[in-house]
Structures are given as C-alpha cells and as structure tokens.
Amino acid sequence: MGRVIALAGRPNTGKTTLFNALTGLRQRVGNYAGCTVEKNEGSFGDGPEKADVVDLPGTHSLLPATQDERVAFRFLSESADQAQDLLVLCVAEASNLVNDVALAAGLKDAGYPVALVVNMIDEARQNGILINGALLAEELGMPVILASARHGEGLDDVADLIRPGPLRADLTRAIDFRAAQTETLRLLQEKAEAEAERACAAAVTLPGRAFLPTIERSIRIDRVLMHPAAGPIILAATMFLLFQALFIWAQPLMNLLQDGLTAFAGGLRHVIPAGPAASFLCDGAIPGISAVVVFVPQIAILFILIGTLEQTGYLPRAGAMVDRALRPFGLDGKVFIPFLSSFACAIPGVMAARTIASEKRRLVAVLLAPLMTCSARLPVYALIITAFVPAAFRPLGFDGRGLVMAGMYGFGVVFALLLAFALKWTSLYEAHPSPITVLPPYRLPLPRDLARYVWARCRHFLERAGKVIFVVSLGLWAMSCFPRNKTLLAPIDAQIAQVKSGPASPEQAALLQTLTRQEDAARIKGSLLGMTGRAIEPVFRPLGWDWRVSVSVLASLAAREVFVGTLGTIYAMGGEEGSRQGLIKALRDAKNPQGLPRYPLGTAASLLIFFAVALQCVSTIAIVRRETGGWKWALIQFAVFFVMAYGLSFAAFHLVNFLA
C-alpha cells in the first residue's frame, strides 16, 4: 500500500508552489486559476517515510464543473478504491480563508483524511489578518499549519506532518465522487460552507477595514490596467513589445551562438580525418542541431515575458478584458489562457482548455489553440524572416523583422477567430456559459520561480527538438550520402583530379572550391534524399518550393522545428554557397540555374503561411486525441488544417510575387 499526499484546494492558492517545495520538482507556477490542469506527481522523503506527492488541479467546490476539477475528484475516489494510505493536504489562501476552508471541511465530511495548510500567511499578516492556527484546528477537527510556501515559512511543520506513517488507511466510508448524486454533493457543499464560516469566525481576526491592502493595491493597479481607454492600449502594447523584444534582445545572442557553433564545426573538420564520421558530424549532426540551438535565446526571452505576465496575475484580467470582444466569434475570455499558453506550446494550451466548463466550447478551444504561434514555429519564422526581410527595413523606426514576426502572431489569432466564427454555424456552437472569472491579487514574480520556469521551458524545447533532430539528421545524412550516383559524380571527380595535378595557385584553389561544391551538389542530387525531394517537388512546386524545401517540410510534419535542422543539413551536405556561414546566409544567397534568387519573396510568404496553419506536430495530434477521447477530431483537425495551409500558401505565393 503506497503512501500518498494529495495537494488539493481552490485554484491559485499556491498548491504547485508547495508541491515544488516538498518534492524539489519544477512544475509551472502561475498566478491564475487553472495553471495546473493535470495532476503532477513527485515524491517526498526516503525509505519507509517515502510518500508520493500529487498536485491536483484546483477545485472551487465539491461539485466538479470542469474537466480539470473532475481529474481531482476522480483521483481521490480512485485512491479510496485502491485503499491507498492517503492524506489530503488542503491548501488555502490565508487572506481568503472563509472561501478556501470550505473544501477542506467538505472533503473531511466526505470521509477523506484531511490536513489544512494555510498558505501565504506572510501576505495575510501584511493585510492585518490574525489567524489562530490551534483554534482553527480545533474548530475544523483537523491538523492546521500556517505556512508561506513561496518564502519557505512553515515547510518544516508540513514535512513533520506528512513524514510519520502510516497516514490513515481507512477510506472505506469515503464518498465516491464519480458516482455521487449532485444533490448529495450540493448538501455537502452547503454544510461545508457553514462549517467554514463558523470556524473562521472563531479563529480569524480580520482588520477593521472594508478592503484588504492587497485588494486595495490590486484595485488601484486595475484602475490603470483595465481602464476603458488605457487598458486595451496597454494590452496591445504589451503583446507588441513582447514580439519586438524577441528580435531586438535575442539577435546579438543568436549571432554569438551561430558564430560559435560554426567555428566549432570548422575546428572539428581539421581534427577529424576526412571520411564518413567527419561528414556525419560536420555536415549532418552539428548543422542540424545548431540550427535549433541558436533559437534558445528567443525561446528564453519569450518565456521570461510570458512567465512574468503569468506570475503577476495580469493574465486573468486580460481574459476578462477580451471576453466581450470574443463573444461575437462564439468564444469567451476563458479561451485567453489556453490560447496564450499555446504561444509557448500547443500541448499545455490544449490541456488548459480543460478549465472551460462547456464541453462544446472546450472542443472549439482544443481545435483552435494549435493555431497560436507556438515556440516550435519561432525558429522557422525567425529563419525565414531573418533571411528574407532586410535589416534595413524599418517602417516608422520599428524593426521591420519584428513587425513581420508580430504579424505572424497576429495572423494565427485572426485566423483562429475567423474559424471560430465559422464554427458558430455548426453543431459545435454553444451559448456563452461562464459568468465568473477570479481575479487574483497582483503579485511580484519571484526571480527564482521565473528562472526555474524559463529553464524548464528551454530544456523542454532542447530535449524535444534535440532528440528528434538528432535522429532526423542521422537519417537525412544517410539518405543524402547514399546511393552514390557515379554517372553524375565521375566527370566532376575527373575534373578535380586534373586540377589537383596542376601547379598550386590561388586560381587552382578557387577552381577546386567550385568543383568541390559541384561534387557535393551532384552527390546530394543523385542520393535518395534528392530523388525523394524531386519526386514530391511537383506537389509543392505551386507553392514556390524546390525539392530542398519540400523535403524539409515533409520531415517537419513530425515537429515543426525539424524544418530548420533538415534544411540546414541539406544545405551543408550540398556544399551550397554560404552554407558554411550558416543557413540564413545560404538561403539568402541561393541562386537558381539562371542566376536569379532561388527563393523569391513569394516563397518566403507561402512558407510562413503554411507553417502558421498546418498542424505539423505529432505531440499535439496525440494530445488532441487524448483530450477529445478518440482519433476523430485529431484527424479531422490535421486534414482540414493541411488543406487550408496548402490553399492559403498557394494564394500567398502568387499574391506576394505579383505585388513584388
């Protein structure tokens, strides 16, 4: 029988912060309801004291209304089924105790072993609230610990509470929430609220003022940030600055990384003897991986800014501000957090949709969230924009590349809204269902939490991209080396041998360099990769893509960021002009046999649009399948988005070329 500590409580009471403090894990911490939508698991202690710690999604009442609330109650009921040695550690916000204690009282009445952690006690002190922990424990009939998980206060007491075992084994009389009647739960909730009010009246002394200082401060900030005129401008400016910062702050670091990795590959070429190993490392693995690594600064900056917005408590307010504007599209403010999370990665975004109570609206959010510009699109956009939008393009003094990037983010949002509008005339539409959003007090983000969050996201990006890209690079390198087409290579090899036999001179070196590039190009042309690319080229030619781009897009159907690595490998293997100086320069300098740019502006536009719309992410498809309970919606979503991506890219290619 395992020992299990389940962290339960209302949303945004600091459960995940406590979970991180107890387990040392680095779960995402945010200042809004619904930050944890799936249970997270870790462990506490060693040997016989060892306990599994489970961070459950927040629950407002004993009547689960949303998918994430059901996860919490299902877990408790399953623990009772399996006769786990369970302790429910209810986490309550000290400044909002009367609301938060009801859940603890209710779970105790439902037959579960409960202890209460009164969290954010430091904030309550600042608010002038006095809590008598011993009296509260007596009134509620459960252990009570006053703590501040953020600042480490009271954590030793929490550890002492959960360390001794067994915790409690008897769950035989616990209510099964999965099967309980709504009326039973309603009565339980009513009773729990009455108990909470009585206990708090006895043990909590509130300051003699109508507004707590934290609430007063939040209202003062809201009067600026949610001002009828200034509010929307601040929201738009925040989003705009975020995307400008991605380029302005990240570019020097990206250049530094690119130069370092290029020098590393160059140095390796001199150390490793020429042959398959050197070719694989210098032309396959390193260009592929470095093409992704250079985008880490942008990813880090994106998450520093998103993490700051999350932890301050601004996000739910932004959701409330856009709520009414979204209603004509059949959406509401509840989609703001799933959509914004999807800017980081569609997976947490799709999962965050669990906080939406209406099943149909949740499905719409799941289907549309992947249209937000996720971090995997960022390297692709950054590559194409940096390669094709000149640095000198500075309309109104702004960085033109940043504007195009902001435009791509805007495109994703607008396209999702248009699709949502179209879905209003389908069976997926449901009238606006959610009448309340909790606006948490504004809090300063802790640099430690922010750093952990950013590090976790960057590591996730590197691990995911790194693994996939390494395997893909290996496959691509093999495909680009074999088979060797002797008919194509023999004349060039003969020419090289002839030049080499002549006297050494600068002209000879230059000619040798040109011939070596021709040999590389011929080798890749005759290889399996070249043949595959040319076989699929006719399908994508109407979009302005050559075989190199077509192969890269095909490889990126597994994960978008693979596109950059694949193209990097192809250009490195093909020995293209400028490829040794990085992919961006290679793309910029690439010429067709007529000496004209290989990729006109229309190609760049069609690629951007394709990546904005197509669902090239196996992980997202898998999570959509899980969240919708089958393959139907996942496959419909993939097919529809692919067809739309192709059509829109075709239009973009021809329109931009016409205008250019």
Partner: protein, 75 residues
Amino acid sequence: MTLEDAGFNVSLRIEAVELPDAAEKARLSGVGLRAGAAVVKIMPTPLQDPVSCKVGAQLLAVERRLLRRVRVVLS
C-alpha cells in the same frame, strides 16, 4: 435591487443568488458568490462587461447577465 442596478463603490450584502439550477448555484457559492457575502461593484472592464467586483476578500469579474440575478441590500 440587483447587483446590476447597484452603484459602484457601494458596500452591499448579497441577499440571494437567483439561479434555477441548484448545482450551478452551489458552484458559484464555492467561488464565493453566495447569500451573506459582502460585495462592492468596483469597475467595469473596458468593454463594460464583465464587471470587476469585490466579493468577500477576493476580486471577481462577473458578467452582467449574472449581476442581474444577484439580489443585494445595502450593507
């Protein structure tokens, strides 16, 4: 009067939340919107709906259609 009719920055107390669905009412009660709770309408969001309200010791953005169903008295 309803919370919709009440003025801003006036201390009020919720008399009743009039919803036909008892389960929905219990859920809102779990969020803090229940009879007896102290409430102050603070400010509308830029598009006038929802409205920011202080309910108990927390701030909630409450849609106007729900404000019309919350009966309040002066505190």
